[in-house]
Symmetry: D2
Subunit: 280 residues, 4 copies
Amino acid sequence: MTERTRKEGRERGEEWWSTEIIEMRPGMIRLRGYPIEDLIGRVSFPAMIWLMLRGELPTEAQASLLGTALGAAVDHGPQAPLIAIARMAATCGVGINSAMASAINVLGDVHGGAGEQALGFFGDIAAAMDAGQSLEDAVADRVDRFFARSGYVPGLGHRFHPVDPRAPRLLELVREAARQGTVSGRFADIAEAVEAAVERRKGKRIPLNIDGATAVIYGELGFPPPLTRGLFVLSRSVGILAHAWEQSQYPDRNKGPLPREWLWAYEGTPERRLPEASEP
Amino acid sequence: MTERTRKEGRERGEEWWSTEIIEMRPGMIRLRGYPIEDLIGRVSFPAMIWLMLRGELPTEAQASLLGTALGAAVDHGPQAPLIAIARMAATCGVGINSAMASAINVLGDVHGGAGEQALGFFGDIAAAMDAGQSLEDAVADRVDRFFARSGYVPGLGHRFHPVDPRAPRLLELVREAARQGTVSGRFADIAEAVEAAVERRKGKRIPLNIDGATAVIYGELGFPPPLTRGLFVLSRSVGILAHAWEQSQYPDRNKGPLPREWLWAYEGTPERRLPEASEP
Amino acid sequence: MTERTRKEGRERGEEWWSTEIIEMRPGMIRLRGYPIEDLIGRVSFPAMIWLMLRGELPTEAQASLLGTALGAAVDHGPQAPLIAIARMAATCGVGINSAMASAINVLGDVHGGAGEQALGFFGDIAAAMDAGQSLEDAVADRVDRFFARSGYVPGLGHRFHPVDPRAPRLLELVREAARQGTVSGRFADIAEAVEAAVERRKGKRIPLNIDGATAVIYGELGFPPPLTRGLFVLSRSVGILAHAWEQSQYPDRNKGPLPREWLWAYEGTPERRLPEASEP
Amino acid sequence: MTERTRKEGRERGEEWWSTEIIEMRPGMIRLRGYPIEDLIGRVSFPAMIWLMLRGELPTEAQASLLGTALGAAVDHGPQAPLIAIARMAATCGVGINSAMASAINVLGDVHGGAGEQALGFFGDIAAAMDAGQSLEDAVADRVDRFFARSGYVPGLGHRFHPVDPRAPRLLELVREAARQGTVSGRFADIAEAVEAAVERRKGKRIPLNIDGATAVIYGELGFPPPLTRGLFVLSRSVGILAHAWEQSQYPDRNKGPLPREWLWAYEGTPERRLPEASEP
């Protein structure tokens, strides 16, 4: 975008910030070529998200499935660091946007990256199938590889939920969408084959989690893996905002992680004096 | 939420983080009392946002109007600081969540606060009407006050757009929703009366802008002013993500604000030497 | 900086980012006019901070007093929200810079603003003295005003420490610096007069806290109040980094605010079903 | 820190936030075992940084060298994305702490990680020497490896400066510190051997840059590579603050990356209409 041409002056400056997303002139705003006033009231919010990210409008059935995935992951409670952060930040005299920013900022590789890894894994299986492998073989090969490496397969299992109640419901909706021709159902097949392969190896069922289930939807809808982290940010921002807002209705100031009358345990060096400080 | 009772031990710790938003046990997630698996696929994404923020489900007509407001404000291009920030951040080797956080963080009083101010202004007029004043008087009094103080009335006028193309379309949709009984149309009346009052004083029309138009919708739907800044964050996050994502597809590294071969102008003290440095 | 002239093209772009802080050409970097290679190894880190913020080099005695204030406020433990945030963020798979950013971001009006308010208060008294009022009268007038308004005087008292051990030591150092002619001692006089005036009104001593004590130093050194929030960020960033770093040495992932086996208390609506969900 | 013991109740909660850095009781603050009032005025700001990060006090010669490295990297001007971000954020109605946070947040792998990579590289050579390899062989092997992989050796070369004026001056100071016994000089030897090895391969000199030069100092002082990114944040925060502060003195609001009267170039889909929108 930035090095291709060698314009000069203002034209060069304007090219430095070029984009394919939005065109603007006084009194005119177009998103991906569509006049904004045509879009407003004609396409749903999830369809607008899709248009902005993908460049084309989805069908409303696709948009609705996207909205379902976004709605399913809005919150997992204040024991998640990002929600705790949003709530504490809301007591520190910053705007609600800043409370949200501090929280969104920690949706890093460990938390925000789980769906991305799951979709990368499922997409890799899909690619192997495109290259001629059977579903069973493609899954078996890749599950073996993960077991050899770490014993951990992305998109399955949950520290807290024996069965994540969101996952089977989301899969059900993908199956329904497949029956209606909205999606192919291929990523649902892959996810279930992965579940089965892991069960055979472990001797117990480790069910799909929310990251795996939303990865199935995002995969069915054609989103590339790294973009799904961004979709998760959009989704979880709703819970972040709800918690920051609820907290801001209370009078707490500088809310810490533990009740106000508690203290952390100190486990460091016992009291000592500076060498010079011990002199008279 | 935190000082009311004096429980002890674990119970005290758990109370410290109490919330009315989400209930969780292994295998169970409820949002505002509703099992998550009931919500998934049954309510739209904007309805989920509403439920999380307000505690009750909206009608789908209300949710749709909320989604329209959210969709209308997703982007205003890379000359806005927050979009430029998202794009630069995306070239610095941080996750897309962090690029989004750096950008969301600047939706402060100057930018993110405009809708909040507009809704506060409109709501103040509505309250005066509830107390018995006529629309005309309530508007005239408050517009006078703003003119006396700053000459600036929140929600009207745009630096760039003579007429913001989003605003009249949004007002049209509010009028339609009023005809269908989804909203009362009261904030639309107020906004138009404000426009007219300002026109009388200035001798020229200063039309409603996007902040004023979305404030009308949020007011019609019953959102309190400070929460609208949070809604704006949810909305603009879509544009932030789209721009961060587009930028991340290019090879730029450490993208600066000006073309790479340009430099800023230096306007400070001319070269000088440390006193000691000039000694032999 | 931005609207004064109407240059065009590249020159206009470069002017848009003009600064008095740094001048650069290939192979040349000057800070406030000084070649960087002259500064390196010749001025201390606090002196560099001063030069960057104020435009002139301090004496090393001044720089040392600045360094003392910066060093005194580096940490107040993980029950402060910003330290808890830094530690939780460090377990989420983001860079240490992002963990620091999420934490620094919450040094808002409630926490980071306390020193700014204290210095504003002390500076207001100093200005009244410049206008001819006696120390006693200037203090009495303003303490009365604060008592009438909120009962709260900035820079005094601490929720946790009966006497903040940092404050008397810092005051002692200001007195020493005054004896050596580094500072005038005027803000120390003001702070002590404020303490005495509050004691007379309340009937008990409410001693200077760290915000008040560092405000004295920053005032003595001539820093404007809003800049002291930035100095506090530089100072507390050290503690933020230390805690983020210590936490990153542990294997925790997605560390929440409470022990892993605890849950928050839910205080919201009891379980309920969607209207449609109850149908067969 | 968190899973070792199984205490209960408050004790378990307090253990969850245990630390070796700070001990606190009402009226008492100890950092790494030292009463804070003993440290204040007795150790320099860089020594305080060292104590907090390393757990022990440095000699003042060591602290001074650390301060030199911190002071050398405070700023590289507003064409760096993080400085541009700080300046734009300062015009958006957020606190200076939030302007700083948005900027610090982008010191990611691409920018903030360069010193970390350089120190990792140099430290790897040092480890090979400890295992018996000669300096020349250890360097040659690793430079070969980098050339085979990417042609890029960390810590050398600068996009803008033919010779970075900070680097030779910093190396000179390391040599001086080695003569005085403050450091061993080993990382300086390694860096110079790397420069020489690269020159032999490329046929031209690619001199040490600021990241390489500070990596030498941090290596000499015994800092582990990932911590050096945190040190860089502390250092560059000074420039971030200076620029945010300078910008906040100007009246700009919502400062964008280009002069206000410019626009970005649009390179996307030409105008199009929604299918339904074209219907009568």
